[in-house]
């Protein structure tokens, strides 16, 4: 019994002492990537701490990193923060989901018909260039101070990016693949299913990434402007902190916002990477 336990515990340690060149590469890369990130965070914290120590601002206006993280730790043990995250992420998912559906529909329509494309292409570009926050007066008058107003602005902010991703993905399909599909008899819906959608996918995902960035910005702006009664959200918590001049709380919530945005972006980046690898768009691996 004892010997069977010893053997597996030995092998990893042996590997650690004599790593193969491949393992060493992976470890070195991990250290490099993680190390760079940790170093960057450390530098930010050091600068923050030094500014705090310089006594330039009073500690109630600019608290130390330790105080902010203590506040974050305390809030993480209160249900209100988790309710707020739930509400905010719910809005994000709803708004971004609608934006994806609408953006994809518009993108397909615009690329399917040249006349629609030449007419609506510039409008989509104009809407994309317009800061989403400028839509809030319109949304608040139209929908009132409620979730619909926030979701509307998320959709308006994100859908043009999604649509642009879809149209540029379709416009960049190699003409040769279209000709090959024609000779194979792929037409109509089959052509979309087997050629157009998969061929456009890498650029569609880029559009989704950009769309998400806009959606997240619009959502934060919306939650600060449109306070829905009796519904805790990230924006409400941030607003409360401002009203109470509670800087540690405000900064703790900002860290939550930063983290949430980063996590979603990292997820989309992973999808992007996986697709590029599968489509053979990254480095040439194991060519036969």
């Amino acid at each position: 019994m004892a010997s069977t336990v010893v053997v597996p515990s030995l092998s990893p340690s042996r590997r650690r002492f004599a790593p193969s060149p491949r393992h060493r590469q992976v470890i070195a890369k991990l250290v490099r990537v993680l190390g760079a990130k940790l170093l960057a965070i450390a530098i930010v914290l050091i600068v923050w701490q030094s500014v705090y120590l310089s006594g330039w601002k009073s500690s109630s206006v600019l608290p130390s990193p330790a105080v902010v993280f203590a506040s974050l730790w305390r809030q993480m043990h209160e249900p209100v923060l988790w309710h707020a995250i739930e509400t905010t992420m719910g809005r994000a998912v709803l708004g971004f989901g609608v934006a994806v559906l609408l953006g994809t529909g518009i993108g397909l329509l615009v690329s399917a018909n040249r006349l629609i494309g030449s007419g609506f292409g510039p409008i989509i570009a104009a809407v994309q260039a317009m800061p989403a926050i400028a839509w809030f007066p319109f949304a608040i008058i139209f929908f009132g101070l409620n979730t619909a107003a926030i979701v509307f602005v998320i959709v308006i902010g994100a859908a043009p990016s999604v649509a642009t991703g879809v149209t540029s993905g379709i416009n960049h399909i190699p003409p040769l693949l279209v000709r090959a599909s024609q000779t194979m008899g792929l037409r109509g819906i089959a052509l979309y299913r087997h050629l157009v959608l998969p061929a456009a996918l890498p650029m569609v995902v880029s559009g989704l990434k950009q769309g998400w960035a806009f959606a997240w910005r619009s959502l934060m702006a919306g939650e600060l402007l449109v306070i829905v009664a009796n519904t805790p959200s990230i924006g409400v918590l941030l607003n409360n902190a401002q009203n109470l001049s509670d800087m540690p709380s405000a900064m703790a919530i900002m860290i939550v916002i930063l983290t949430a945005g980063m996590v979603i972006d990292a997820l989309l980046s992973q999808v992007d990477k996986a697709i590029r690898r599968r489509w053979g768009l990254t480095s040439q691996e194991e060519a036969v």
Binding site: P174, L177, A180, S181, P198, G280, E285
Partner: protein, 254 residues
């Protein structure tokens, strides 16, 4: 030669006075002018000519990808498959899934589709590479997959646009043998465009020489060399030299 007596009543393809003009008005370009050609069932025809003589246009017309400006193209309802100089495979699909595409277009049941694709990949010698994606295959292998995909269209006629032009000489030789074998086994009719005269003499029953823009049939050479032609290098070289000589004269005439 004997081919004359083997001619069947209805040809695989008949082109009568085909003319193709790209564009309109002053900027229009005539790519083909008055092409007449009859391709017999089971015949292997090679079309050679300098670049820009409208060879690719000719194939697009026969494949039905494009319509002639005037003249008649009659393939008598035959299915025509096309192969390009580039493999034109879908990069996100494996070799097997690429081969299946024409079958999917015809809504063949999945089981049949899978089996046919594997058979065809075996035919082109890629049975073991069914699960590889195009970027994991060499240029010659990709072109083999493209051939398997063209065969999956179950076409009676195969039109090929310089399909081996981008390959190295050794790979090309191998694919010549494969194509010859598949042509014989499946009794295909092939219209093969190339700018390589030696390749045309290696493969064709007849070699059609097109003149420069606008493309016209400048000359026609029956290839009366017994197959396998690798066994007759001297005759092949002599005929190739004759055609090349003619090609140079046609090109210098403009």
């Amino acid at each position: 030669m004997t081919a004359v007596f083997e001619k069947t009543a209805s040809p695989a393809a008949r082109l009568v006075d085909v003319r193709k003009t790209h564009g309109a008005g002053r900027s229009s370009v005539t790519a083909l002018d008055g092409i007449s050609l009859t391709v017999d069932v089971g015949e292997f025809i090679c079309v050679v000519g300098a670049s820009g003589c409208g060879k690719s246009t000719l194939l697009s017309l026969v494949a039905g990808l494009d319509q002639p400006t005037s003249g008649v193209i009659d393939v008598a309802g035959r299915r025509v498959a096309m192969m390009f100089q580039e493999p034109a495979l879908f990069p996100w699909l494996t070799a097997a899934r690429n081969t299946e595409l024409p079958l999917r277009a015809r809504q063949t049941p999945r089981e049949t589709r899978r089996r046919r694709a594997q058979e065809l990949l075996n035919t082109v010698g890629l049975g073991e590479f069914a699960d590889k994606r195009p970027h994991q295959l060499s240029g010659g292998m990709r072109q083999r997959v493209a051939l398997a995909r063209a065969l999956a269209q179950e076409a009676d006629m195969l039109v090929m646009d310089e399909p081996f032009g981008a390959l190295d000489a050794i790979t090309r030789d191998l694919l010549h043998e494969e194509l010859e074998r598949i042509w014989r086994e499946r009794r295909l009719t092939i219209l093969f465009v190339t700018h390589n005269v030696r390749e045309a003499v290696r493969l064709g029953d007849r070699v059609i020489l097109l003149s420069n823009r606008p493309g016209r049939v400048a000359a026609e050479f029956p290839v009366a060399i017994e197959r396998p032609r690798q066994a007759h290098p001297r005759e092949s070289a002599e005929l190739a030299a004759e055609i090349i000589d003619r090609l140079h004269r046609v090109s210098s005439d403009g």
